[in-house]
Amino acid sequence: MAKIIVVTSGKGGVGKTTSSAAISTGLALSGHKTVVIDFDVGLRNLDLIMGCERRVVYDFVNVINKEASLTQALIKDKRTKNLFILPASQTRDKDALTIDGVQAVLDELKKEFEFIICDSPAGIEQGAQMALYFADEAIVVTNPEVSSVRDSDRILGILQSKSMRAEQGKSVKEHLLLTRYNPTRVESAEMLSVADVEEILAIPLLGVIPESESVLKASNQGQPVILDEEANAGQAYADAVKRLLGETVEHRFLEAEKKGFFQRLLGGK
């Protein structure tokens, strides 16, 4: 049975697309046939981060409007096998997404894929609601600062009231992904800590991605950061994918670097 996972946040610029790219790549690397859909119709970023922008011929809206078949629109990832990308249209706006249209596409994808990752646009309007409507699970990407936490809280409320599962009286499984985490700044009280965010949002922690230059570098190179095995952020995403697949993995990179190895090992939560 295919699992639909929405990557959402409410607030923009927190790392939804980076996380969608990394997580879908991670799932595909673990041998699960995965498709990642860009719901950010009109802006189109996922293909850039996945490094396939020059290969986009047809897009999600073309498929919804039956101007192209899914097979024509799906882009097979060059680096990772089992991974496909369904890019957004840059010439349309989010009103092009309709419940029926999205459902038809998802139903078709479900027959072939194990994981369907929906990269949500920012905001809480039509585009974001379409991305989360059919979700079985949600990865809520949050930065350790108050406005991001507030927006995540808002989107969690929408997930549990306006998604299809909510309408059926079921619940959407929630995961917290804390990105751009900087332990040094947490220590100097410039940033909220993991515990602060967990206390406010009260959902299980999927992973903490440290703030890292490697993320920006990877984005610019069009290569999901999870493929950078040297980088903290890449390793943290790999851990998060394992947790998503049900493994128990200790959280890393929660303490500032200057602390000794043993302290990190023993003191970390």
Binding site: D153, R154, L156, G157, S161, I200
Partner: protein, 244 residues
């Protein structure tokens, strides 16, 4: 001094209800003796409402009242199966409160109906305690109330077993109980019930209101900050008090 000799007022008082399940004089007497002996102070001259769960004959009823009086209990009203006992009840100077309209009519205006005169004779109108069916069950929410969400418990209490986020709003016509952190807004007694209260496990609210009176974050912060607390209305002022 005014010319008026008296004023009619409505009142509510708590009273003991003696529920008669089956009436066998000897058995009843010995059981009642035991009961009264168990707490003589409590039962002496305490007013009593007789609830007839079973139909009694006039003689049986008179005997019942006599037995009660023998043990220094003061039956003042009767309810339940009073069919066929109307006259006996009147003769004994008791009120028949089997009709629920009784409560309303005594509060409206004094009239000359027999039942009410009987009550006036006892000086204390008695309203029936609300039965369980009249209480609307509290609305229970077990998920966090998130920013932008609103929960309203109409005509009842609201119980939330999770946190109320900043930017969320919880409202109730009755009390609000939050077994989590209250970071958002809580409005109790929104239809004007000044007796309503807000209880929470940890007080960090943006706003708390009771029956239209409200306090904002800064005032909340000055008292019981992040502590278990209750907020209630006392003489038009909201009070915040810790709950140990």
């Amino acid at each position: 001094m005014t010319d008026t000799c008296f004023r009619m007022k409505g009142t509510t008082l708590t009273s003991i209800v003696l529920e008669v399940i089956g009436f066998e004089p000897d058995k009843f007497e010995s059981q009642l003796a035991d009961k009264v002996a168990s707490a003589p102070q409590f039962f002496t001259r305490s007013s009593l409402i007789l609830h007839l769960a079973t139909g009694l004959s006039a003689t049986e009823f008179e005997l019942l009242v006599a037995l009660c009086r023998k043990f220094n209990l003061q039956p003042m009203a009767v309810r339940g199966e009073t069919e066929g006992l109307k006259n006996t009840i009147n003769d004994l100077g008791l009120a028949d409160v089997s009709q629920s309209k009784f409560t309303e009519s005594t509060l409206k205006s004094p009239s000359s109906s027999e039942t009410e005169e009987a009550v006036a004779a006892q000086k204390t109108p008695v309203s029936k305690p609300p039965s369980a069916a009249q209480l609307k069950p509290a609305k229970v929410v077990s998920r966090p109330v998130r920013s932008g969400q609103q929960v309203y418990a109409e005509g009842s209490d609201l119980v939330i077993t999770a946190a109320v986020s900043e930017g969320a709003e919880v409202l109730a016509d009755g009390n609000i109980h939050i077994y989590g952190t209250l970071r958002g807004r809580a409005l109790a007694g929104v239809k004007g019930n000044a007796q309503a209260r807000v209880f929470c496990q940890s007080l960090d609210a943006e706003l708390v209101s009771i029956a239209g009176q409200f306090i904002m974050h800064d005032k909340v912060k000055a008292a019981c900050w992040k502590q278990p607390a209750q907020i209630y209305l006392e003489e038009d002022t909201l009070r915040i008090e810790p709950i140990a």
